[in-house]
Symmetry: C2
Subunit: 315 residues, 2 copies
Amino acid sequence: MRIGLDMMGGDFAPAAAVKGVKLFLDTVASDAHLVLIGDESQLVPLLAEAQVDQSKYSVVHSSQVIGMNEHPTKALKEKPQSSISIGFHLLKNEKIDAFISAGNTGAMMVGTFYSIKAIEGVQRPTISTLVPRENGSQGLMLDVGINADCKPENLVQFAILGSLYSKHILKVDNPKVGLLNIGEEEGKGNLLAQATYPLLKENKQINFIGNIEGRDVLSEKADVIVCEGFTGNIILKMAESIYDIAARRNINDEYLNKLDSESYGGTPVLGVNKPVIIGHGISQNVAFKNMILLAQQMIESKLLEKIQESFHSGN
Amino acid sequence: MRIGLDMMGGDFAPAAAVKGVKLFLDTVASDAHLVLIGDESQLVPLLAEAQVDQSKYSVVHSSQVIGMNEHPTKALKEKPQSSISIGFHLLKNEKIDAFISAGNTGAMMVGTFYSIKAIEGVQRPTISTLVPRENGSQGLMLDVGINADCKPENLVQFAILGSLYSKHILKVDNPKVGLLNIGEEEGKGNLLAQATYPLLKENKQINFIGNIEGRDVLSEKADVIVCEGFTGNIILKMAESIYDIAARRNINDEYLNKLDSESYGGTPVLGVNKPVIIGHGISQNVAFKNMILLAQQMIESKLLEKIQESFHSGN
């Protein structure tokens, strides 16, 4: 398998990505070949200095970089030699099996939708976040930002996508799906939640356990937490701020430390035809390592084929 | 001033309320007379045992209690001798100047709307939560649950109500209003946030500083955080769960401890004609003390008159 990595994306590029590659190769048993996309003149000395095993990677030169604040569509059009543009070109043409970037999120989303496209039957591809729990297990919450306004059917599809991810990547058996809401009983909530509940309840592809509340987000009550991207994004960023507060206050707690975005790496775009993983701009070596590992798991588990089958069979 | 208190509401009634009354009288300089509504046969011995100064309170007997899970409208109708029904009767007839309960939230809301009514011009009364910040100051977030679906104009009114509360109760000079959103720039967010932004921007009654994100909720960026009650409620309950997690993990941090609902007491219903304060079911003595103090502050500061003037003058 060949995993493509944008070396020029993120606030600490390319050094953080190089360190992430080194960490991955040093700590993960893998036969993946890494395709490192970036400015050769910067990458080659950094890779040599880090003593990265040359048999495990190739460098694909890119002469342009899309900045973190550039307009996505415009930047992709005007910078065909950027690392992100080249990454999607390689992914589309099957030169790589997955593409990872901590660069401009908008450009990554636009690139994904135009080059890779949504899986047939998926109305709205989605991004998710891993939710650390005190017992060490991981939940999944989706959407966390790209679908700010949703219809009930979108949330049902998020439930299916999240359940497949939970099962095949997080290895959760029969993952419990919870609808994020402001009350436990059916009928509670805003109009969207009220309309979504019966659709989730009747859906045979998922294990729906009912509504969950804000206090349950970090608990083990549900393995897959479904919400529109407005609420999901705000919760995600608030959780990250709890980590920042704890760090600032010298609270060194194993669990609160896991709320750091660095520890979970990046989010896959679910519902598209190839593995695409988007990292936080502030990603450091651990985040890059975890994103490469996630790409490997997505390829090995054949997650996307399973999603395609699931939506092909109709839901 | 006369402050009415439902002694039978909440999970630890009436003992917690009695302890709260004692704590208030022992620690707060006040000329308030407390009207304690509840079962005389339970209250009298508890008050005697706690050695509460008899000149500071009267007991109004109630022979019924509305349970935490009863249907609000039905319960209010069928239990006219309940502590909540009597409290609203006293408030409506100006026998008390404020009413506090940690009982059935739905019954408190219904009672408020039917007995006390919304201030003219206020489309949607709202409930808020205090937001503790690391520097010791307090922000305000609203709505936190009774208005799950909102229109842009509702959010503008929450901004005005919250600003007046922040100014007159929290003593914040020219409080900064932030719109809770998933991006900083104007134009970001869901349809509601997109439509609300320009209305807040053009409103002369408030000091709008733009969008704030999930990571800013617990910061000093905005003094008044405006959102619909779906997102607000989920954030509030998640913040409370952070306190629970910290407590469970023996993290004893002064700031995280403030995320405990006990420390902020209860939420006033803003936008109605009299001070009504609703407490958490799990309220203990500190929460009751803080709710009585808040009622006193609302009366002393003439907050409701200021809200009435503000909406009377048009916005």
